[in-house]
Symmetry: none
Amino acid sequence: MANVFVCSGRDEVPRWQEAFAGAVQVGPDQARARVGAGDLAWVMSNLPGWSELVAGLRRQGATLVVMSYLPSSREAFQALDAGARGYVHALSPPELFRQVELVTTHQGIWVPPELLARVVGGTFQALGGEVRLQDDVLAELTERERAVALAVARGESNKEVARRLDITERTVKAHLGAVFRKLGIRDRMQLVLRLSHQSISLADPGQ
Amino acid sequence: MANVFVCSGRDEVPRWQEAFAGAVQVGPDQARARVGAGDLAWVMSNLPGWSELVAGLRRQGATLVVMSYLPSSREAFQALDAGARGYVHALSPPELFRQVELVTTHQGIWVPPELLARVVGGTFQALGGEVRLQDDVLAELTERERAVALAVARGESNKEVARRLDITERTVKAHLGAVFRKLGIRDRMQLVLRLSHQSISLADPGQ
DNA sequence: AAGCCCACTGTCCTGATGGACATAACGCAC
DNA sequence: GTGCGTTATGTCCATCAGGACAGTGGGCTT
């Protein structure tokens, strides 16, 4: 069973290589040629006609997972409807990729926890694991540190946070430094990645 | 993490013991008492008020799987709606039980393949199906700009990107500047947010 | 009272970031 | 050939980010 990543050009996502040693990266056309029964194919949703590609590879006996840079519940439906067993953020950490592999190759379905609610049923309430994980991350922070962390995670600058919380920029830095230390990260970028992937965001615009 | 089978009286399904050595078999009442966070609870759908039981145990932090003697897509829906992560035939072979365990404890969803199409399809239809949104933020970028944008979105610094793409840090800045201009954003943080989660609302509308 | 955690602020300093000027090569279309 | 877009690079500079030193004051526990 091979892991095949289907994307346009060379999307250059070493994360895939990081997650799966023997991963192959191909274009849509090669995908149709070399993907067969038992293979696990990961298809980027920014490819033109990706859903048809997914359906096609599905008929060839492959297991499909759709990756997206902008996950939405709607696209998730489309993916599952086309025959995909999984739908995941393209920038997910390697461990998550392996988890998705595990689930999908065992007849399971995998969709991001934050989209789960919308994918199955209208009132589906399965906001489990990841959300709790998120709580734990924020739990070790103090009130102020959490406020600063969240503001920063929304893309605000130190100055903006300072204005919002009505404190000095220096104080923002102090809290932020504590956040970095406690979470074991080095800068705000890591923070956004940490907070936005397994996110609290039950928000998904979804439209 | 314990496997707990919830059923009325003594349903006597040795298959469960066969699948999981340390499996416990209890009634609905004991279930509420002893099932906690991290446990995997298997609930029979012939119990009166099983969906409320599922929802309750879900709130207690358990992972839920509903078992049925007469699986139907309607009941599957009900199960998932109540917060179950899995829905299987009660008389499935031990290997299948273990597979379901594997999937559901890894944030996956498991429903019988023959019901899959109807469960997912039905949901999809209900939401108005075919809609084309998110014509890629990345589409308007050139090859190199996209590569830089993606690397930055993974949290890499300009220097790291430069090394990775084997170009000068100055060039990275140039591409990045173009990305910012084209996407109408001001810094790398906005970029991560665009690519990571779109318009997250990490709570706090900001007093 | 002494110790600790939290919120807040200060200065100094290094390195990263992004914009505003440029220049120059290449390929492609008109 | 003349333009245009893409890639690549350069210098200069204002700002931002984050760490390394600080310090004060309040509240809580022992």
